[in-house]
């Protein structure tokens, strides 16, 4: 079941990226990032109010945990830069490489509360097959 949800999340991501892409064409990439975050924040403020959330535990939380949003801005900026210089396909391919490398690294060492899942070398065969398939799908 979670397998299906994760695939659907990826599908939704495609749609959102397209929508954001249109917006970026209209008002510029960085400005569109403001608009996207603003609309998202408005949605979240509504949700917080509706669910009557208590913001009680904030002081106990290490500062780095709030950095996800900032890192996301880094993602937007680098995507804008590399799409211009390298094109969409190469950006996607290299981006996926970066995602895979960090994911495998985090899984292997069990970093940041992710359960330790040591890398099994036999998986390289599967990885090669998947990479080949993904490359074909991305190019064609």
């Amino acid at each position: 079941m979670t397998f299906i949800i994760s695939i659907l999340t990826g599908a939704l991501l495609s749609i959102v990226i397209s929508i954001n892409g249109f917006l970026g064409q209209a008002v510029g990439d960085y400005t569109s990032s403001i608009i996207i975050h603003l609309f998202g924040l408005i949605t979240m403020i509504l949700l917080v109010l509706i669910k009557k959330e208590n913001f009680k535990d904030l002081k106990k939380i290490p500062l780095y945990m709030y950095s996800a949003g900032l890192i996301g801005v880094f993602t937007v900026v680098t995507n804008s830069l590399t799409i211009t210089k390298l094109g969409v396909s190469l950006t996607i391919a290299l981006g996926l490489l970066g995602q895979s490398l960090l994911s495998i690294f985090i899984d292997h060492f069990g970093l940041l509360s992710i359960p330790k899942n040591p890398f099994n070398r036999k998986k390289c065969i599967g990885l090669v097959l998947m990479s080949l398939g993904l490359v074909i799908m991305t190019i064609y």
């Binding site: 979670t2 949800i5 994760s6 999340t9 990826g10 599908a11 939704l12 991501l13 495609s14 749609i15 397209s18 929508i19 960085y30 990032s33 403001i34 608009i35 609309f39 998202g40 924040l41 408005i42 979240m44 949700l47 669910k51 959330e53 913001f55 535990d57 904030l58 945990m65 709030y66 949003g69 900032l70 890192i71 801005v73 880094f74 937007v76 590399t82 290299l94 981006g95 970066g98 995602q99 490398l101 960090l102 994911s103 495998i104 985090i106 899984d107 940041l112 992710i114 359960p115 330790k116 899942n117 099994n120 599967g126 998947m130 398939g133 993904l134 490359v135 074909i136 799908m137 064609y140």
Partner: protein
Amino acid sequence: MLYLLLAILGGASVVLARVINYNLAEKIGLVQGTFFNYVFGLIGSIFIVLVTHNTIFISSATLMSIPWWAYLGGIGGVIIVTLSSFLSAKMSAFYLSLFMFIGQLIAGMIIDYFLVHSLSPLKCVGILLVFLGLVYNLSLDKKSSSSPTASAQEV
């Protein structure tokens, strides 16, 4: 080239942001986690525009031209961030990245099919290869008895 490295880092940052947000959500809940993601995302975005354009003045003409469906992008992003945090608890970082990317490709294929009526046979070959590789790796996970991991239990 520096840009090649930048693209790789960009991809890595997607995973890093997701995992850190998952940590935050574990502490304060999914709603608050996504909330703060957008708070700091907005602050960061404003900063970037200040740095690159030296102004946050968006002309009213520009504002008028924002189509209604742009708001859907905002809601969609909220759903994605929240689900990503939720799913990080349920599967390994690698599988989550992989399945989300597969979802992106499939959505692309479906959109292409309905919009442009094209279905590349090579893409189907590609999907088959991905499927074969995935099934093989999943079978390795099920066989490994070293530790019950999220990926072995799930999927």
